[in-house]
């Protein structure tokens, strides 16, 4: 199934470099280079500042904790995932996010972010959230963390890969131009999935910070 498995571009010894690596590296360079070039110029920088502040305000309204340290991570995820999903509509290029390896890597970043910000907010006391409400719940808390990460990876992979697969099947059954409505639907799905990935990262990170916050400053609602 060439619609779902990445094609090998180059083999260096035991390393197999697939088109996922090439496309996502090119996208990262393009995004980082283009944006860092744009902030040097007067006009684009002001436009980007407005965009940044609007998005930061959106994130701020969503959760109760202070989102300032998390905003760059979420916005980077939004930009990268939206670009990676949308690049699939171009001919020849396939979405890198249809590869489970890439979505798993993104999900692991999201899992790590929750722990890093939880630790940064409350130090080693953060680990106590694993044994709350009592030590019996330790395995369930660990399973919860893992399954939430797996779900994050599979959701993005499933949506993008199934979109590409349906497009390929309709193309082979019905011929050209017929997949166009499906691709238009795929554009919406791409942006919505990127949005959801970022928001879920925010929610998980915020809940890690929140749990620790409740522990250090117990409120009547928290107990």
């Amino acid at each position: 199934m060439d619609a779902m498995t990445p094609t090998t571009v180059l083999t260096v010894g035991p390393l197999v470099i697939t088109d996922t690596v090439v496309t996502s590296a090119a996208l990262s360079l393009l995004l980082a280079g283009g944006l860092s070039l744009a902030v040097r110029m007067e006009g684009p920088r002001e436009a980007l500042e407005v965009v940044y502040e609007t998005l930061e305000g959106t994130l701020r309204d969503m959760v109760t904790v202070d989102v300032t340290p998390i905003v760059p991570l979420i916005l980077t995820q939004w930009a990268f995932i939206a670009a990676a999903n949308l690049v699939g509509v171009l001919p020849i290029v396939a979405s890198p996010t249809r590869d489970l390896s890439l979505t798993a890597a993104l999900a692991v970043i999201s899992l790590g972010a929750g722990h890093v910000y939880g630790f940064r907010a409350h130090g080693w006391r953060y680990l106590k959230s694993y044994v709350s409400p009592n030590p019996l719940m330790l395995p369930f808390n660990i399973i919860g963390e893992l399954s939430r990460t797996v779900a994050l990876a599979l959701r993005l992979f499933g949506n993008v890969a199934s979109g590409e697969l349906i497009g390929a099947i309709v193309l082979s059954l019905a011929g050209p131009l017929l997949p166009v409505p499906l691709m238009l639907l795929g554009l919406i799905t791409s942006v919505v999935q990127a949005y959801i990935f970022g928001v879920l990262t925010l929610v998980f990170t915020a809940s890690a910070m929140q749990v620790a916050a409740d522990r250090t400053h117990p409120t009547p609602e928290a107990t």
Binding site: M1, M4, D61, M62, A151, L154, R155, F157, G158, N159, A161, S162, L165, V192, Q193, Y195, I196, V199, L200, V203
Partner: protein, 84 residues
């Protein structure tokens, strides 16, 4: 019919059932969430922003059940571990 043939036949049939049965419950759940959200927006148009934002995230969580079924059926069809 060899054993491999039977594995292919059963895999294909089970893949169809997996996605058919596995998408029933998430579809009902999402429809329920959507009707509730529309109802709430009709009652309180001011809260439309918050409601639709929460709806998106909630629907993504509900939908992941259907995505699990999809992934399992795709594995059965295209990456079956039992077939060479």
């Amino acid at each position: 019919m060899t054993g491999q043939d039977w594995i292919s036949i059963v895999s294909i049939i089970v893949a169809g059932f997996t996605i058919a049965i596995g998408s029933i419950a998430p579809a009902l759940g999402e429809a329920r969430a959507l009707t509730q959200a529309l109802d709430s927006i009709a009652r309180q148009p001011d809260a439309a922003d918050t409601i639709s934002r929460t709806l998106f995230v909630g629907m993504a969580m509900v939908e992941s059940t259907a995505i699990y079924a999809l992934v399992v059926s795709l594995v059965l069809l295209f990456a079956n571990p039992l077939l060479p």
